[in-house]
Assembly symmetry: C2
Homo-oligomer: 706 residues x 2
């Protein structure tokens, strides 16, 4: 079960990362010019290149001197307490060496090596446990293992075994990747595109320090303005959610590529860093609640980071696009449709002003294709963009723009800069596809004052990322309140009454002993009714013809009940007949609404359209609790089969308001009864025509194992 929300506030959720990223003293354990493919050498060279940002000690029992420095045989021999030790020794020796170092007061260790139980092998697991025990006993922190190290750009600390990290520019993006190899390619490409970094951490197995700690550190770091991560699994969900909430409050967006959406991906994650990828739909609900922006690919992570780099957020979802290509316009609309994006409708005044500037024959509408002649007239293009962005119906805009790459290529950043100055809405430039980017391009981008994204689908997704993040910022994070009342042993009848009070009304149902009594009960309930035979021998009611639906009058009820009884007697003359159940016949659309605890992220609700859609198509919307009315409405609208709730083929619309009330009620009830309830599902929850409410036909609840 997930940690309770009351713990979110606890300081102890986050462990200190300072000694890893801002150490005053560093020791290289296993300093050697050949260890682990020369990693010690490469890291030493990087430290030297940066003028030794921390006091450096070398440790190796087999050496006396190296790189012109004294080498100490062990930690006990060092003249001062060490903030950070880099372990570049054979894996099996690491636990014992760290035990000695921890005893000598080591504050933090960075373990590069793998084989700490990733694949589940017993030796590796034992190793990890030994190191974890040191962390607990001494309060020592560990980064890694199974990682490629960390980089702190402002501190000039390049603890990564490759020269190429020296070229990374300092900037405002904090980076955490569980995959150390991918990390370096991403950083390099992001830098080429003009992004700079505060800290970049390859977090590996996260045996001790984890994503939540790193995010917390970066949120508190004044230089970090957004956090980009590639994540395999969330080690401490409550801490992660607390860190994400803190990041949202500080307006430092978290952008994330999550590995393990598929079964195969999840298995790969387990064997790679030993992380649990978890249920992807629930994780999606976590991201939705906390405003974590999920990116489908590493390339998207760059484009979206660029889009967020302006620091502006849209106040609504309406997108404008301005370009000089009809083909680009058509493609943009196709991708907007794929992503469910909303295109702004330009006002009449805007259209009139545009008509005077754009090519004859092209429509003055959004998305705007200005025509081929405007493509070679950047000033005029800039004026057109200004007019579009000044329209109050536009919340965010993307304007066509390619970066110059080589010296002497045409291009003028000024119209872009003027456009940016003319408006407060978020703005980005887009190219229709990937392109090379050089120093010249980066200077142009910088002078233009807006990011140049590459690729139309990526651009649309980045715009949507800004829009969704902006909406979560406005909406905030609804806290999960504590259970109320002492409902531990609520009697079934009281619980049913509580459900009904919360909009989860059960259909009327009466027992009858004879066909005639059944008809009388049916008159009380009102027609049409359903009649079911009640007999221990009649468990397969449908097959036996033991269920009659849509009975319209008393005669039909008597006939149906008599006929069932006769069939039962004919099939099995000894079968006892207990009587009949007469039920209000409820017509409508079947929903399934269920609440339960995710093992990682706590209570969540799943809502789906009943029957085939849920069972076969898994068409469900999932949100973390609490679910309020707006969220409930959003969940229903998100279903693929949502149209079934609307007016459909001349039929009345369904009672969506009652369904929303019932969904919110289910959320409230579960929150209060969580201490004894682990699962509460209404299946079906029948949504009748507008104004007729809902009926909770079957209620299934599972008590916690105590």
């Amino acid at each position: 079960m997930a940690k309770r929300w009351s713990r979110v506030e606890e300081k102890s959720l986050f462990r200190a990362v300072e000694d890893l990223l801002r150490p005053k003293t560093i020791a290289i354990i296993g300093a050697s010019d050949s260890s682990r493919g020369g990693w010690a050498q490469q890291i030493y060279d990087n430290l030297e290149h940066c003028g030794f940002p921390a006091k450096l000690y070398l440790v190796n029992p087999k050496r006396r001197e190296l790189w012109g420095r004294p080498v100490y045989p062990d930690f006990a021999a060092l003249p001062e307490r060490i903030d950070l030790a880099l372990t570049i020794i054979p894996t099996p020796a690491i636990p014992a060496t760290l035990a000695e170092a921890a005893a000598a007061g080591l504050k933090c260790a960075l373990i590069y090596a793998a084989q700490f139980g990733e694949g589940g092998d017993p030796e590796g697991v034992a190793r990890a446990q030994a190191v974890q025990a040191l962390c607990e006993r001494y309060g020592m922190r560990v980064s890694g293992p199974n990682c490629m190290g960390v980089v702190a750009l402002r501190e000039k600390l390049l603890l990564y075994p490759a020269k190429r990290v020296r070229a990374l520019p300092a900037g405002s993006v904090g980076v955490v990747f569980q995959s150390g190899g991918t990390f370096q390619y991403w950083l390099q490409q992001a830098a080429i595109r003009g992004l700079g970094f505060s800290y970049a951490i390859s977090s590996g197995n996260e045996l001790d320090l984890d994503l939540a700690d790193y995010i917390n550190f970066m949120v508190e770091d004044a230089d970090t303005r957004m956090i980009a991560c590639m994540v395999e699994g969330i080690r401490r969900p409550a801490a992660f959610m607390a860190a994400a909430a803190k990041a949202l409050a500080a307006q430092k967006p978290i952008l994330m590529v999550k590995v393990g959406r598929s079964d195969g991906g999840r298995a790969a994650v387990k064997s790679h860093t030993g992380a649990i990828a978890g249920d992807d739909q629930v994780f999606d609900a976590v991201c939705r609640k906390y405003g974590v922006v999920r990116c489908p690919s590493l390339d998207d992570l760059i484009e979206t980071a660029l889009a967020f780099s302006t620091g502006r957020l849209p106040h609504g979802p309406r997108i404008a696009m301005v370009g000089a290509s009809g083909g680009g316009k058509g493609l943009f609309l196709d991708y907007a449709s794929d992503e469910g994006a909303e295109m702004a409708v330009l006002g009449a005044a805007t259209q009139a002003r545009l008509r005077a500037l754009i090519d004859a024959g092209v429509p003055a509408e959004n998305p705007l294709d200005c025509g081929a002649t405007i493509a070679t007239n950047p000033r005029k293009f800039g004026e057109i963009c200004k007019i579009v962005c000044a329209d109050p119906n536009v919340d965010i805009a993307a304007v066509q723009g390619a970066l110059p790459v080589n010296q002497g290529e045409p291009g003028d950043p000024v119209p872009f800069a003027e456009l940016v100055a003319s408006t407060k809405i978020p703005l980005l430039a887009y190219g229709r596809m990937a392109q090379n980017v050089s120093e010249i391009s980066r200077k142009f981008q910088s002078a233009a004052g807006l990011p140049f994204l590459q690729g139309l689908p990526e651009t649309v997704r980045a715009l949507q990322g800004l829009i969704h993040y902006g909406a979560v910022r406005r909406r905030g994070i609804a806290p999960l309140r504590a259970p109320q009342g002492s409902a531990q042993n609520l009697a079934p009848a009281a619980f049913v009454a509580r459900l009904a009070d919360n909009g989860l009304i059960q259909p009327r149902s009466e027992a009858a002993h004879t066909p005639e009594e059944a008809a009388a009960k049916a008159e009380e309930i009102g027609f049409p009714v359903a009649v079911k035979i009640v007999s221990p021998a009649a468990s397969h009611k449908t097959e036996l013809g033991g269920v009659a639906l849509q009975l319209a009058d008393a005669a039909a009820v008597t006939a149906a009940a008599s006929s069932m009884a006769a069939r039962l007697a004919a099939l099995d003359p000894t079968a006892p007949l207990d009587g009949f159940l007469v039920q209000e016949m409820v017509d409508g659309i079947e929903l399934i609404a269920g609440v339960r605890e995710d093992p990682l992220f706590g209570p969540f609700m799943a809502v789906g359209l009943g029957g085939v859609l849920v069972e076969v198509l898994k068409d469900v919307a999932i949100r973390l609790l609490p679910v309020d009315a707006a969220t409930a409405r959003e969940m229903l609208a998100a279903l693929k089969g949502a149209a079934l709730l609307d007016r459909f083929r001349g039929r009345a619309a369904r009672d969506v308001a009652a369904a929303v009330r019932a969904i919110v009620g289910l959320s409230e009830i579960f929150i209060d009864h969580r201490p004894w309830l682990s699962d509460l599902e209404i299946n079906p929850l029948i949504v009748r025509d507008e104004g007729q409410g809902v009926r909770a036909v079957d209620i299934r609840m599972i008590r916690r194992a105590s």
Copy 2:
């Protein structure tokens, strides 16, 4: 209605493109150093740069001399007949000028200007009609209008108004884009990535010459080995399908970005080039049948073109991936799952050989993460790749590889080249994300002998493109046979018999006049049955309680029929009662299967799971006719709700074999009856449990308007 297949063979389907792309004489109409933003100047400069690949004449009544050449006042004054005229004059003057030129024997005109009726404005439409009339009268060909011209690399013919096309390398990719602006960016980026071109055509509105003509030309061109296109609409569907069939036979893949998948995209297409984007699902069926590889984005079009550039095709769908990153492996599996890709399972012998080479602790499985130490050992990585590719369970492989960009960067192409030489399966290298590419990169790629793709999702899609294309090559294109028999006035009973012969059996149904007769008919049919009241006053059977289902014995039938009659009499004492319909009760899964004519591409079938899935989720599989058993099976498997046909929750599987027989039967019947039938739909086609066949409950047919 689409053209008949018998016309496919007609030579007249394709118009000659030679005068456009291999002209011996060219005239620039409107030659001037300022016309249309200097386009004439720029094109002239390009021709000069290439040493004038054709004899050049300048035409302009206002000039005597230009660029040191004589200028002719009009076409009549030219000393010889002209193959190709470039019209760089104001749009309104074009029809009259071309009329004069056509009369003087002009063979082909290239019209750059827009406003030829794209948006539907009457003046533009009239202009287009005038030019089309010239084409018909004189047999003159026209390329464009609303385009940016053409480029023939081998002929050194750069009829594009920009210097940058001079840098395009010659090669084997033929290119046709309806969007002229997008075209130039795509060509430039594709060239940077190492692709070269035979011909590149911006086809614009396709007033005369169209995609089908260009594809036909490129299929016949020995230098062109694949065709990449960005398409808004298919002007002549029959000609396009014939060209696509010819391309498939010649093993020249057609790769395509199609604009207008969404409603918004379709509207943009209409106003951009006046093309009809058409029903995207039907177009998808066209691509599936003819092996046209659809690419979702312009970047994908490059990656997929690179993947096809090896010329190798896989013999099956099983993909292997070899890399040195656990994160990359997890992401690859996620994308493979998104695309429905099949990962190869490595044989035990392969696994044993791998275990000796890869890092300790990483599993010897596909996808293969070799471990971090292999990342810096290209020789060993190459050996590992060879072992994987030699496994008979592997049909196609992607191996990790990044291109060097700058002088002095490490990288060895030899292991890649040796890998390529060691196997016959298609091979490509992938990088996890986009990267810069330079001359050094292209040389490396060329020496390595395999393409380097960028981005994991794009790589998976390119692999799937090769796999699907390979499958269509093996399967071939089933021809649509001519209608058989003289079925013009087939009587209803005969048609029903024909349906039954083809597996489309209707449920047994008998009419009865009294409740007692209904019970007797039910005994004949066998229980359970359904009973429906028959009365002109009882059209809303369900609401009136005029339908009783699942009646299990004669008594229930009598009771239900009597009850219905009584209810009808009570509601409306004057209502006539015609009797009752007693029907075989058919339990099973509802399919909808329908055949009709697409206005562009001819007869196609749609199969969906009945009810909600079709109506709300549009969960249908669409294929062009004829549909054979393999295709029918593939259609059923492609449905999102396909699991409903399998064994499900302990229930028996459905009779899929009978459903397949019925679908194939429907295809056959429609082909024979197309001359008088425009639409034939079975809804529902109920698929009963295995061995119990199907029942065509409702058959709806629409006769052609004659």
